[in-house]
């Protein structure tokens, strides 16, 4: 029915509530995304506490396709296949007015971390490259998808922090792949919901004055008047989809006998609002694939 870059609405007919709910649950909780997980703070003299700043950075949606990356587990080294590194360095000089740090200040570092790890090992070779917090084998810029689309936060105007004169923030943020179950920042949809198509049935023929009254009662204009000829008018249900089931039309005396409000049991109107990492139709396809994978896992466990 409706498909934009960020959200979509479509109808599913013939499916059952259990499957529709499974799709909804998977869309919210089990589709992987990339989000900032580790924040290495070099300098933070602002009034925003470190942990609050890190929390806010984690919630910023990043415009990158999570299917190109692998998961990073506990014992893995962060390398170019599972981490995306951003840098944030903002300074407010003395004498200049307050600055607002927006999310477009996050710069992508395709070559990996720049912060140097402190090694206590005195015998370390001084001619080798200094050890940083990530071990990038090759620059992420060489991956073809990123040549034309650099990785940036999806919305450049998210306010991350505010700085007064003389304050500075310098940090490095590592984004990894995760699913919404562990933390909501990894949920790829702003939200996803479904509702069942309302069915408005006129049990009796409603004519003339009653028809006018019915039409004026409904706040979303579900009913229409059609002319039968001979000066009589009848009410018809024109837009059942718009009905919000507010039940205004059955308030008052006797209306319950004339209008029945029900839901069509297998017609679902899905709405998916994406945060931007992937377009919504891709999200739904991935969700279906994940349900298939889960089934397959059960089958292999059984046999």
């Amino acid at each position: 029915v409706r498909l934009n870059e960020d959200d979509m609405e479509f109808d599913m007919i013939g499916i059952d509530a259990a499957i529709a709910n499974s799709f909804r649950r998977i869309l919210i909780a089990e589709l992987p995304t990339m989000a900032i997980e580790k924040v290495l703070i070099a300098n933070n003299t602002s009034i925003i506490q470190d942990e609050v700043l890190a929390h806010r950075l984690g919630l910023v949606p990043i415009r990158v396709d999570p299917r190109l990356f692998d998961y990073l587990s506990e014992n893995d080294q962060p390398n170019e296949k599972n981490t995306v590194v951003f840098k944030l360095h903002v300074q407010c000089k003395r004498g200049s007015p307050r600055i607002t740090v927006k999310s477009d200040a996050l710069k992508w570092l395709p070559n990996g971390s720049e912060l140097v790890k402190e090694t206590r090992n005195a015998t370390s070779d001084s001619s080798s490259k200094p050890e940083t917090y990530t071990y990038f084998g090759c620059s992420q810029e060489t991956i073809p998808e990123f040549v034309k689309n650099p990785i940036i936060p999806k919305y450049p105007d998210i306010i991350v922090a505010k700085l007064g004169p003389g304050q500075e923030i310098e940090l490095e943020a590592h984004a990894v792949k995760g699913i919404g179950k562990t933390h909501a920042k990894w949920s790829p949809v702003a939200t996803a919901w479904y509702r069942m198509l309302p069915e408005v049935v006129l049990l009796e023929d409603i004519e003339d004055d009653l028809a006018e009254e019915l039409k004026s009662k409904c706040p979303v204009n579900v009913f229409d008047i059609e002319d039968l000829g001979k000066g009589r008018r009848r009410a018809t249900v024109a837009r059942p989809r718009a009905c919000t089931l507010c039940r205004e039309c059955i308030r008052g005396d006797d209306w319950e006998k004339r209008v029945a409000l029900r839901r069509v049991k297998d017609h679902f109107i899905f709405t998916i609002e994406s945060t931007g990492a992937l377009p919504p139709e891709v999200l739904f396809t991935e969700a279906v694939k994940i349900l298939e994978d889960k089934c397959e896992r059960v089958i292999t466990e059984l046999s």
Partner: protein, 117 residues
């Protein structure tokens, strides 16, 4: 993991780890559609623990096979949904592209791309 009586293959409880309502409800629904099944249900012993118990009782067929068939049916359903959805999205995009190419300023209302199973 299956707990059942060793003599009677047709009734068993399957305990799946790392699962929740998402797959359990869907599998229970497909099991219900199977005519060989007399009773099926699922329960979650404790919400903090990601474990699901699925109980299947059949009219003689081994419960394991029936559960496997139900999962296969669910997978088929998913594939069908995916194909239909992809086609519907393509049709919708095509019809939108055609509309966008019309230069005169007609008011274009959204297209109804309904899919049916």
């Amino acid at each position: 993991m299956e707990h059942g009586s060793f003599t009677d293959n047709s009734a068993a409880t399957f305990s799946l780890t790392d699962e929740d309502h998402t797959i359990a409800n869907a599998v229970r629904f497909t099991l219900n559609q199977d005519p060989r099944v007399t009773f099926c249900g699922y329960s979650i012993p404790h919400p903090s623990e990601a474990r699901v118990n699925i109980r299947v009782q059949t009219t003689g067929d081994p419960a394991r096979e029936v559960l496997k068939d139900a999962c296969q049916n669910l997978m088929l359903m998913c594939r069908h949904v995916r194909c239909t959805f992809d086609k519907a999205v393509e049709d919708f995009k095509a019809s939108n592209a055609v509309k966008a190419m019309k230069i005169d300023s007609q008011d274009s209302s959204g297209d109804d791309s309904e899919e049916s199973e």
